[in-house]
Amino acid sequence: MTSGIQALANTVGQKIRENSRPVRHDRPIGPARWPVIILFLPPALMLFTLFVIMPIGEAAWYSMYNWTGYGRPENFVGTRNFEVLFRNNAFRLALWNTGLIMLVSIVIQVPLALWLAMLLARKMPGVVGFRLIFFLPYVLADVAAGLIWRFVYDGDYGLFAALFGFFGLDSPHVLADRNVAIYAVLAVVVWKYFGFHMMLFIAGLQAIDRNLLEAADIDGASGWQKFRYVTLPLLGSTVRLSIFFAIIGSLQLFDVVMPLTGGGPSNSTETIVTFLYSYGVMRMQIGFGSAAGVVLFVICVVLAFTYKRVLMRND
């Protein structure tokens, strides 16, 4: 029996290799294609330069000035903003929290989404309804979700107050506790975004050749074995993509946190972007905020490129 599954695993492996064999586009750019390039490249290139390249360059430039955001930056301070930034406890906490969010997204959110997707990819009555319900949090506006959860967590008038009150207990104020608030935020993040990953997985699962699963059934594979040796390997590229989105999303997390905690209490729920906003924009220290932005940019680029090069090179 085991050898049958082994053979099946080999077939699966081969299928993956076939699918992911890099295709090279070596067609030379001949004179016939120049008009197309000249006509269609400039608009896209211009937009990209205007809205992506230039802001990045400007942020890098501002980050070397002590600048309030009014007029032109004139007070050059070199690398001082970066030195102050890395000495800043709130920023270190923001880095730590962002890492924690990333970890939880990968270790809890993605597996949870995969598990639910396995349940909901089957053809069963009511499946569409459940998909909709689980996808709903993702559709909700981030700020609205933050406000809703702020009310849920409220220990005086919120859902928590009602729940604990029902059992005759004093409700905790989770968002007011420095040691707990970040976990409350993490719960909301998982709740908010798992539906997105679940949808990715459902799409990936539906693309899997059912014959392979039937073959595994005939070989007498258990449910776990089918998952481990057929489904997961064939879903590999989707999993890697999903983790990639989870990482990028964690780095950019802002809109849920602001209405929920505003980064408090005592900066304990600050992320890199909320830090940038509270300490850069709100304090009229655009130079300092830009330095935080540059650090975020470097982290994003390094992570994204390393991940793509190392894990997604065949996808």
Binding site: Y70, G71, G262, G264, P265
Partner: protein
């Protein structure tokens, strides 16, 4: 995807485009005055709107339009807005270091000449203290709107039940004793909005004022003398930590917003709140039943003095707010502002419990007894200090907010807090 236009859609869209062009044409015959405000209280807003309506009707060639931005969003967007073509012509200002920073960038209109015309007819229509607070280096940068003072408001029912007389709370030690007594009696002594941080900075500010006095605070602002190294600031932290050690605030105060806090107090859940002059209407507005505490249930007393401190109990902390005008605003903006803040209109706003007026002669509009008490305290003020988080400028001000919360919640020592203030001051 392909787009198909049939004749009808094309005609309709051309018609629509023409119509919108014509509307713009019609509107531009009038001068538009763009007013950006942060008032979220519907009752207050209704008063303003009716005034604007009246002004627009009386001045057919001017159209005053109002745009709302939430308080924090306003502060965040203003720098960008002011430098764009969409800059508001008049907007709210809390004076102090922030107004000064804006003025220094050349984005504000210098109002001195306009207000000093005809022997200062316009300027003299306001109380000298209010005008002086919005003047830097002899130039006027904002039109005065209101003055306010922060003081303690208390729930008389709770005070009576515990057996505390507010008149005894003139010094910090008796205040702390009272907090303990209230706590022992099973009440929450103080409601505070720790989630927004600035409500806690009122405590730090008043303690610094009572302990250090005017000279020490002024020196900290300018870096003269010992600046923040003056021992008064460590003591300020120590006294604030003493208050925090009594655990005087409502559960979950570190996440509470200001409206929530007002509501908590208005619902009768806390004995005291350190708050603005218009606490009476505002707590009612935010209370669960929309009524809150009645006039008879509310009392008020000034922040107590601290033993050995150089400040006086008659020194006041509070707002001195005005309307700033952007550099490119049309002259009609000034005409509107002059009218909007005249004696008659300020009286109307005072009668509606919105403001303690700054227009000379409008003070009789203050009818709310608690507001009147605040107005009288202001009138007798020996030193009026603007909110620290505005006066010390946007970044140092926010550090004061931060350290106040950290000290009171036992997350930072008084020495560390002084170090943070000094570090931030160096960066300016």
């Amino acid at each position: 995807m392909t787009l198909r236009f049939d004749k009808r859609t094309l005609l309709a869209s051309t018609g629509f485009a023409l119509a919108s062009l014509m509307t713009v044409g019609a509107a531009s015959a009038q001068t538009e005055v763009r007013w950006m405000h942060i008032e979220a209280n519907a009752a207050y807003l209704a008063v303003w709107e009716s005034l604007v309506e009246q002004y627009n009707a009386e001045n057919p060639d001017v159209n005053v339009t109002m745009t709302f931005l939430e308080n924090e969003a306003f502060k965040a967007r203003l720098p960008t807005l002011l430098q764009s073509d969409a800059a508001p012509h008049l907007f709210y200002s809390w004076g102090g270091g922030v107004l000064r920073a804006q003025a220094e960038t050349g984005q504000l209109m210098d109002l001195t000449d306009a207000m000093m015309e005809n022997d200062g007819e316009w300027a003299n229509s306001y109380t000298p203290a209010s005008l002086g607070g919005l003047t830097f280096d002899d130039r006027i940068w904002a039109v005065p709107y209101q003055m306010g003072t922060v003081s303690f408001f208390y729930n008389r029912d709770i005070f009576d039940d515990v057996g505390i007389n507010s008149e005894d709370l003139t010094d910090w030690e008796s205040f702390l004793d009272a907090v303990e007594q209230i706590k022992d009696a099973g009440y929450v002594p103080i409601a505070v909005g720790g989630g927004e941080r600035w409500p806690v900075h009122f405590y730090w500010s008043y303690l610094a004022m009572r302990i250090g006095g005017q000279e020490v605070v002024d020196n900290a602002k300018t870096g003269a003398g010992e600046g923040f190294r003056h021992p008064a600031f460590v003591r300020t932290g120590e006294e604030l930590a003493r208050l925090g050690a009594l655990d005087p605030f409502q559960p979950g105060y570190l996440a509470a917003t200001w409206p929530q806090t007002l509501g908590y107090f208005g619902d009768g859940n806390a004995a005291m709140i350190l708050s603005f002059q218009n606490t009476h209407p505002q707590q009612a507005n935010n209370a669960a039943d929309g009524q809150g505490l009645s006039q008879d249930q509310l009392g008020r007393f000034p922040f107590p003095s601290v033993e050995g401190g150089d400040g006086l109990v008659t020194d006041t902390l509070g707002g001195l707010d005005g309307w700033a005008v952007s550099a490119g605003a049309p002259p009609e903006t000034l005409d509107f502002l002059k009218w909007f803040t005249n004696e008659e209109n300020q009286r109307i706003m005072a009668q509606n419990r919105m403001i303690i007026p700054v227009a000379v002669g409008a003070e009789d509009g203050v009818e709310d007894p608690l507001m009147l008490e605040s107005a009288l305290q202001l009138g007798a003020s020996t030193w009026h200090q603007n909110y620290f988080d505005q006066d010390f400028g946007p970044s140092l001000g926010r550090v004061i907010n931060d350290i106040s919360v950290e000290i009171v919640s036992d997350n930072m020592s008084p020495e560390q807090s002084v170090q943070m203030l000094e570090d931030e001051f160096m960066l300016q």
